[in-house]
């Protein structure tokens, strides 16, 4: 039986459709206390006075914590560090009287009931000494400073631009976007005898949260266990520990009782977000579509206390053959919370700009957009001059175009119609990295043919439970129903945070290497049996299949694993291993995609609908074609949202988000989404890692917003470069 490569249904599917899957804010304890947060209403300054007396007077209120009376916390930055923290001085919830952003937590009300805490939170009186704040990226462009992020320049881009036959240069803009996972950020902390804490947290990294909490409160790792068996979406927002976990622990330490703290939707706009970014792209080309130079400059926002930046710019001349290239990444400091990773950070924004620019260049050159990309196709990583472990992007273009019917496109804008609708067809390329991380893994095999596989990683909806079960089933030769997966628990073997699309490759490799050791042990046991049919074989000469240890050379030479274990008097075999990948500096590792989109635009009303999308993805071996397709589909929906709907609006007079809810921050709903076709292009790759896995969490969104924008141009003849493309921009 092989499970890898099949559309195996989710092993946690039943729990999710019956409502039995438990999320962080749903764990309980006798004596549970409910928390509510009070947040700042200014963007910069200090708290002059905070008066909780009215809140404390409410029947059922147990305490109100502020910077004046909270439990002891570390005084240095090191105590607040987490593995995803950017350079800077991390935010410390309830530490002192300083206000760094609007919506900052400044008090925690603890009460016997949730409604009481929420009501009492409205009674906390705060006076501020406000200072002048600045929250608008556009007013701080001249203050932006360079970060040393992008790849080195090559050649002389300025000279090539000056000599170019055809040149396209434009500025693109992506506003602030918030992740808005459906589950509200929540932590439930139980306080056990002697002060041991169990923390149920909404996080993508239980061990990261564990280290963070220990660092802040001076606790020992043995005294803090962090769990997140189910996570209701995160998309990067759960990579860093969020402030509610600090507050919930403060409450539990203070009251020596269990505390649950669930943020409200509007409070979640005080967490991380995709930073507003200005992207300037210039491309110099010859008339035949050969590129001579690409220059890509990004100016993004960050907070006053941390430098958040991701690779926006160097995708440009990684992707396309160009002798000269130059990248710049600048940051402007604002009085806002630090931005954070959000699905394909850097690439979703940078490649949006690049792929719109390529479309504009294709128009200028009168070339088909696919044809232009083929003319500057590169088989090597242009930045580091390395070959790829695999790159089937050409096949993505071919398969995607064919499935979409691209050949029928007429190039002129406004040339295609469906009744009163203008029809537009656009396309774009996507690119992301195939990252991999060291991961721990434990397998316990029992003689009854059951296995338990565990790792402290997370399943944020990505399907980690299921792919771990699939890989373990194949490696151990067991039916999937005999495999139990444990994850989301800091006491399990080491895991990096779940992010960057590295989990599938990393965890699969960890499982197969641990399973190798189990096989070695099983073979040794089988060879001790009298007249063993496996005598003399090395562990690489046998496989585990259908509950047996089988010689590769002759399937008839086999021993049931139960017999081998029982004969040796072994009831269980347990192995734990930390698997590290071999360093490979000789290859570039990337995933690629080609996206084709149809939009229909109502000519009078300017309403845009994405009626069809095809995303053809080359991402190595796909472990689960069902859950991976869902990830790509969900990413396309994100791309539609990014192109047409999503925008966090700040009232700069107050430095405060105006649409901090999901009625006014628009995310795509069912009626916004139509036909989405996902194609996985074959991409055999024995170099990237033994199973050839590259990961699909981010690649699906990269390029989608550009494809939509390009389709809107094709439909209307209007080039909108600042997202989202709303009706006013079409009609205006």
């Amino acid at each position: 039986m092989t499970y890898i490569g099949t559309p195996t249904p989710r092993v946690d599917g039943r729990a999710k459709v019956t409502g039995s899957a438990q999320y962080a804010g749903e764990f309980t304890a006798p004596d549970l206390v409910y928390g509510s947060v009070v947040t700042s209403t200014i963007a910069k300054g200090r708290i002059a006075r905070i008066d909780a007396s009215q809140a404390l007077a409410v029947e059922g209120v147990l305490d109100v914590l502020t910077h004046e009376n909270r439990p002891k916390m570390a005084s240095g930055d090191k105590g607040y560090n987490d593995e995803v923290a950017p350079t800077g001085s991390p935010f410390r919830p309830l530490f002192d009287d300083k206000i760094k952003f609007n919506g900052q937590p400044i008090a925690l009300v603890l009460a016997e009931e949730w409604e009481i805490s929420r009501f009492a939170a409205t009674l906390v009186q705060v006076d501020y000494d406000a200072e002048t704040h600045s929250t608008d990226l556009h007013t701080r462009i001249d203050k932006a400073y360079m970060v040393e992020k992008p790849d080195k320049p090559r050649g002389n881009a300025a000279k090539a631009h000056a000599a170019a036959a055809v040149r396209h240069e434009a500025e693109y803009y992506i506003p602030i976007e918030h992740h808005n996972p459906m589950e509200l950020f929540a932590s439930t902390v139980t306080w056990n005898d002697g002060g041991k804490l169990t923390v149920f947290d909404k996080t993508q990294g239980v061990q990261n949260v564990q280290r963070y909490i220990c660092g802040i409160f001076g606790l020992k790792p043995d005294d803090v266990r962090v769990m997140s068996p189910f996570v209701g979406g995160a998309f990067g927002s759960g990579l860093r520990p969020q402030y509610q976990v600090v507050l919930a622990v403060q409450g539990a330490l203070q009251l020596k009782r269990a505390v649950r703290l669930v943020l409200t939707r509007d409070q979640m706009y005080g967490l991380g977000y995709r930073p507003a970014t200005i992207e300037r792209v210039a491309i110099a080309a010859r008339n035949d579509g050969t590129l001579d130079a690409i220059t890509h400059e990004a100016i993004a926002m960050t907070s006053q206390y941390e430098e958040f930046s991701r690779n926006d710019t160097s995708w440009s001349a990684l992707l396309y053959k160009s002798a000269n290239a130059k990248y710049e990444h600048k940051l402007a400091r604002l009085d806002v919370p630090t931005p954070s990773d959000m699905r394909a950070p850097g690439a979703a924004t940078g490649v949006y700009a690049l792929e719109c620019a390529m479309d504009e260049l294709a128009v200028a050159l009168k070339l088909d957009p696919v044809e232009l990309r083929l003319r500057c196709y590169s088989d090597r990583d242009q930045n580091n001059d390395l070959p790829y472990t695999s790159k089937q992007l050409k096949e993505c273009y071919r398969k995607g175009a064919e499935a979409f019917g691209w050949a029928k496109r007429t190039p002129e804008p406004r040339s295609m119609r469906d009744g009163t609708d203008l029809v537009g067809w656009g396309m774009a390329t996507g690119v992301w990295e195939a990252l991999q991380m060291p991961m721990g893994n434990r397998i316990v095999l029992t003689a009854n043919g059951h296995a338990e596989v565990s790792c402290a990683t997370s399943d944020i909806g990505t399907g980690t439970y299921t792919i771990m079960a699939q890989v373990a089933s194949d490696a151990l030769g067991l039916p999937i129903d005999n495999v139990t997966v444990k994850l989301g628990d800091s006491s399990l073997p080491h895991s990096q945070v779940e992010g960057g699309s590295w989990t599938a490759a990393s965890v699969a490799y960890a499982i197969t290497t641990t399973a190798d050791e189990i096989r070695r042990e099983l073979l040794a046991l089988a060879q001790k049996m009298p007249g063993s049919p496996l005598a003399g074989l090395k562990h690489d000469d046998v496989v585990l299949s259908d509950g047996m240890i089988v010689a590769k050379a002759a399937a008839s030479r086999s021993v049931p694993l139960a017999d081998a274990m029982r004969h040796g008097g072994v009831e269980r075999i347990e192995r734990e291993k930390l698997s590290e990948f071999k360093e490979d500096n000789k290859h570039a590792r990337n995933t690629h995609s080609a996206i084709f989109v149809e939009v229909k635009v109502d000519e009078q009303l300017g309403v845009i609908r994405v009626t069809r999308a095809v995303n053809a993805v080359a991402a190595g071996r796909i472990i689960n074609t069902k859950t991976a397709a869902s990830q790509i589909m969900g990413s396309v929906v994100w791309g539609i949202g990014m192109a047409l709907h999503e925008e966090t609006l700040v009232d700069h007079a107050f430095g405060r988000v105006m649409n901090a809810n999901i009625a006014e921050y628009h995310v795509p709903v069912n009626a916004d989404v139509h036909d989405i076709k996902v194609i996985f292009v074959e991409e055999p790759d024995s170099t990237v890692n033994p199973l050839g896995i590259k990961g699909v969490g981010e690649i699906g969104i990269v390029g989608v917003a550009a494809a939509v924008a390009n389709a809107v141009y094709h439909a209307t003849g209007k080039r909108v470069r600042d997202l989202p493309i709303t009706i006013d921009k079409i009609l205006g």
Partner: protein
């Protein structure tokens, strides 16, 4: 370590909490009587008092549909409904959809079509879809999309949700 000085606190005249009212809810076929304050929503009563956490809270403002339950067979946002308003009502939550361990055709169809990722919107989607089927209004995929647009799925499983509802429609239609 930084140790802020603790303030002494005086308590002005106490605000007493609201008087609780007894309500009887018929939840998933079981009669449950509980005392709730008037400000308690049906959603919080289900989750915090009856420990039926299958019904989710995604916004608490009627904007996301995660809290959808069936009241007298009709789909309702439990976060916009006060528990005291529903004295005597018959309520079905996701926990009550499957009978004796057998999944409801919608639950099975959601698994078959992978109509979710994180699963957080899923109970609301399924209850909403059950209400939709009972309404009998949606025939086409476009009608399903429109009438399911009160249930947000941030994981973006919409096309699979539509396919799952169509499968269940077929399965339930052929049974009746």
């Amino acid at each position: 370590m930084d140790d802020p000085t603790s303030r002494s606190r005086f308590r002005p005249e106490a605000t007493s909490k609201p008087r609780e009212i007894s309500v009887t809810l018929h939840v998933n076929g079981e009669q449950r009587t509980l005392a709730v304050a008037p400000w308690t929503t049906l959603l919080d009563a289900l989750r915090d008092r009856l420990h039926l956490n299958g019904t989710k809270k995604g916004c608490d403002h009627g904007q996301c549909g995660a809290c959808t339950v069936l009241i007298e067979g009709r789909r309702v946002n439990a976060c916009l409904t006060l528990a005291v308003m529903k004295d005597g009502a018959h309520i079905t939550t996701i926990e009550g959809l499957s009978a004796d361990g057998a999944l409801h055709p919608l639950q099975q169809a959601f698994i078959d079509h992978d109509a979710f990722q994180c699963g957080y919107c899923t109970p609301g989607q399924i209850c909403s879809a059950a209400g939709l089927l009972a309404e009998g209004k949606a025939k086409t995929a476009d009608e399903i999309r429109e009438l399911m647009s009160g249930n947000i799925c941030r994981c973006g499983a919409y096309p699979n949700i539509v396919a799952a509802i169509q499968q269940a429609m077929g399965a339930m239609g052929s049974k009746s």
